[in-house]
């Protein structure tokens, strides 16, 4: 589904990714861990085409297409979704209007008829139940006046409406209490299919418990330095990253 090869990227002239290679197959959930500043968020922003980030080398292929050649909105319409680390407020554009526009943009991209207002509201009502967001949130501006937890639930709701093939969860668990985390994780799990896959950035074991990932990768200094199954994640939770650094140092020495 997604093939990243030797990806190098910079932000404001500073090289952050220094040769990332990663392959994600349909149905797989990959967790990306790593110390602060290692490039996890840069990788997710590059995948979705954030214009603040520049790719200097390497390639990304998504379902056979050259992803780097596509605009951010085309990437989204192709089925890539990112749950933002800090979802921003957009005052004046209601959640309903925003999601309706987003869904119809996607339908238009695929040559499908737009969904009408009444049908969309029905769909929205159904999907809201998944994350337990009340109807009044939908009439507010996007994320306007939402608490941290409500914003993250809002991101999962958007994912449920847009039904992406590939999702990136960028520290979706941060700032959530235990109950909210369970709702978000259950929501995500309910949307998983054999054809969808995900890249989950997290610092915490709780997320591993809920998501049961197929692979865990460790990103350090802009490169993936370790890959394994969920047990790698539990080892990091227990011992931190220093042991990996030490192993790397001894190998290079």
């Amino acid at each position: 589904m997604l093939e990243i090869e030797n990806l190098h990227a910079t932000v404001e002239g500073k090289e952050i990714l220094r040769g990332v290679s990663l392959t994600i197959a349909p149905g797989e959930v990959h967790v990306l861990m790593g110390p602060n500043g290692s490039g996890k968020s840069t990788l997710s922003n590059v995948l979705v085409g954030n214009p603040k980030y520049s790719v200097t080398e390497g390639s990304i292929t998504f379902q056979g297409k050259d992803l780097l050649a596509l605009s951010p909105d085309a990437r989204a319409c192709e089925g890539i979704f990112m749950s933002f680390q800090t979802p921003i407020e957009i005052p004046g554009v209601s959640m309903t209007k925003f999601l309706h526009a987003a869904l119809n943009a996607r339908r238009k991209y695929h040559g499908e008829k737009p969904i009408g207002g009444a049908d969309f509201l029905k769909l929205l009502r159904e999907k809201r139940k998944l994350v337990g967001l009340d109807a009044h949130f939908m009439n507010r501006g996007v994320n306007e006046g939402f608490s941290g937890g409500e914003r993250k639930k809002g991101e999962i709701l958007q994912m449920a409406i847009l039904e992406p093939q590939f999702s990136i969860l960028d520290e979706t668990d941060s700032g959530l209490d235990v109950d909210a985390l369970r709702i978000v994780a259950d929501g995500f799990n309910a949307l998983r299919t054999e054809k969808t896959s995900a890249l989950v950035i997290t610092h915490y074991q709780r997320m591993l418990d809920y998501l049961k990932p197929d692979f865990v990768h460790v990103l350090m200094n802009g490169r993936i330095v370790r890959s394994g199954d969920a047990s790698l994640g539990y080892a990091i939770e227990e011992k931190g990253f220093d042991w990996i650094k030490e192993e790397l140092n001894s190998t290079s020495a």
Binding site: D73, A76, Q158
Partner: protein, 464 residues
């Protein structure tokens, strides 16, 4: 703008005075009786002769709109009251979808009252031309002199006062609430460069209520200059909604001067939306000499290309417990220029005055310009006045967030700009008008044009 009139500007202004003097008999004879007591000519004469008088121009209020320069074009004037050969009420159509209104058409400066219109309104209400008003003396006396007199700083208003021959008059008696809004459709579409001078007088009796929608349209390739002189008198406890929608064109220069007298406990809701224009200047002066009057003053401008839009609002607070609240939002692209001045004057001895003023501006190109000026002139202590101005670009983070959900960049821009203007639209208390303007603003952002579905234009004279 220069601080002094050039000789050419003086000559141009003098031509208007000469024309008035040479045709004074014709003008006197053709005028509605209510307009016969004029003072615009004296103001203009005093200015040109350098005499000591209240008239002053150029002045600080017109820093960003040069009236004298605009008046240098050699416009035709319709002082012989020639009416266009076709009744615009039959050939032109402008409506707010889902809203029944009492609609009057004005082509140039000729007013057309459709048959049966007066029957739509409650007994005792007068809606018609100034000329047809049966009791001009009595109606004139309903208005405060301060509201009626011309603006001493605006030459376009003096010229209007000199040569406007007729206009529209609405008198709503005490305690009467109009069952539907009055819509005035102004059309400028002459086959030559023309000036139209329009007059609108609205009197609301005690506890009367009315909504007025004024739509300004312009068509054709010729230069059009329109001046509007609007007098509003709000008696005790009355409420007036005054909504102005401008959809003219780049050939049009529009000067609108509104003077509103608000007596005790009256409410004025003013909302002015400029969707398309050439050069437009609205001057609104609100006087609150008594107590408990409330003015909600809002406006939005969407401009591009070389359009110029200028809103000047002056509120004169006297008395006790009066308040004003202003919100103006501009979205400027191309090489357009916007200006906003909110002038709050609090008279000596006034008490418990509150005034809030916000001017927020979005510039979508590097070439667009906005000038935002709060002016506070306060001679009393018991006053709460706030003002704020912001100028910015579209939020790039929000744009990217929307694109990440699949919305194209142009659509994301449109949604954000629409949301920005929507704050002003939300303050319109007629739901159908609010809805229609929301659609028009969206169209304006999408295509650069803001034509309503309900509006259509059939050539007024060209086929006749």
């Amino acid at each position: 703008m220069s601080r002094h009139l050039t000789q050419q500007q003086k000559d141009a202004l003098k031509e208007y005075l000469d024309l008035f003097e040479q045709n004074s008999r014709q003008i006197e004879g053709a005028s509605a009786p209510m307009l016969r007591k004029r003072s615009g000519d004296a103001l203009l004469r005093n200015l040109l002769e350098g005499k000591d008088s209240p008239a002053h121009y150029p002045n600080e209020r017109f820093l960003y709109t040069d009236v004298a320069e605009a008046l240098m074009t050699d416009y035709g004037l319709n002082i012989y009251c020639r009416r266009p050969c076709v009744n615009p009420a039959e050939t032109y159509h402008c409506e707010v979808k889902g809203l029944q209104a009492a609609t009057i058409y004005v082509h140039g400066d000729s007013v057309y009252i459709p048959d049966g219109l007066p029957q739509l309104l409650p007994e005792g209400t007068y809606l018609g031309t100034l000329k047809d008003c049966a009791e001009p003396e009595r109606v004139r006396a309903l208005f405060s002199d301060k509201a009626w007199e011309p603006d001493s700083s605006d030459p376009s208003n003096w010229i209007n006062d000199m040569i406007a021959l007729d206009g529209i008059c609405l008198v709503v008696p005490d305690g009467v609430k109009l069952p539907m809004p009055v819509q005035i459709v102004n059309i400028a579409d002459w086959a030559l460069d023309m000036m139209s001078n329009r007059r609108l007088c609205i009197y609301l009796g005690r506890k009367a209520e009315a909504d007025i929608i004024v739509c300004d349209h312009a068509y054709g390739e010729n230069l059009q200059l329109t001046t509007s002189n609007v007098t509003l008198q709000l008696s005790e406890g009355s409420r007036l909604g005054y909504y102005s929608v401008e959809q003219t064109n780049e050939k049009t220069t529009r000067f609108c001067n509104i003077r509103a007298m608000q007596l005790s406990d009256s409410q004025l809701e003013y909302n002015s939306i400029t969707l398309q224009c050439g050069t437009t200047r609205s001057t609104l002066t609100i006087m609150q000499p008594e107590h408990g009057a409330v003015a909600e003053v809002c406006g939005a401008v969407v401009a591009g290309k070389s359009e110029r839009a200028d809103n000047y609002v002056r509120v004169e607070h006297g008395g006790e417990g009066n308040s004003s609240n202003m919100l103006f939002k501009y979205v400027l692209g191309g090489k357009s220029v916007g200006a906003f001045t909110g002038e709050v004057f609090v008279a000596e001895g006034a008490r418990q005055i509150s005034s809030e003023q916000q001017s927020q501006n979005l510039l979508t190109t590097d070439e667009a310009r906005v000038y935002s000026r709060p002016v506070l002139e306060i001679y009393a202590d018991d006053v709460k006045c706030n003002h704020g101005a912001t100028v910015g670009k579209l939020d790039e983070t929000a744009l990217f967030y929307m694109q990440q959900r699949g919305i194209s960049e142009p659509d994301a821009r449109m949604l954000l700009q629409h949301a920005f203007v929507n704050d002003v639209l939300q303050r319109i208390s007629i739901p159908a008008l609010r809805e229609q303007l929301s659609t028009l603003v969206e169209r304006r952002f999408r295509s650069g044009r803001a034509q309503c579905d309900g509006c259509r234009m059939i050539d007024l004279c060209k086929d006749n």
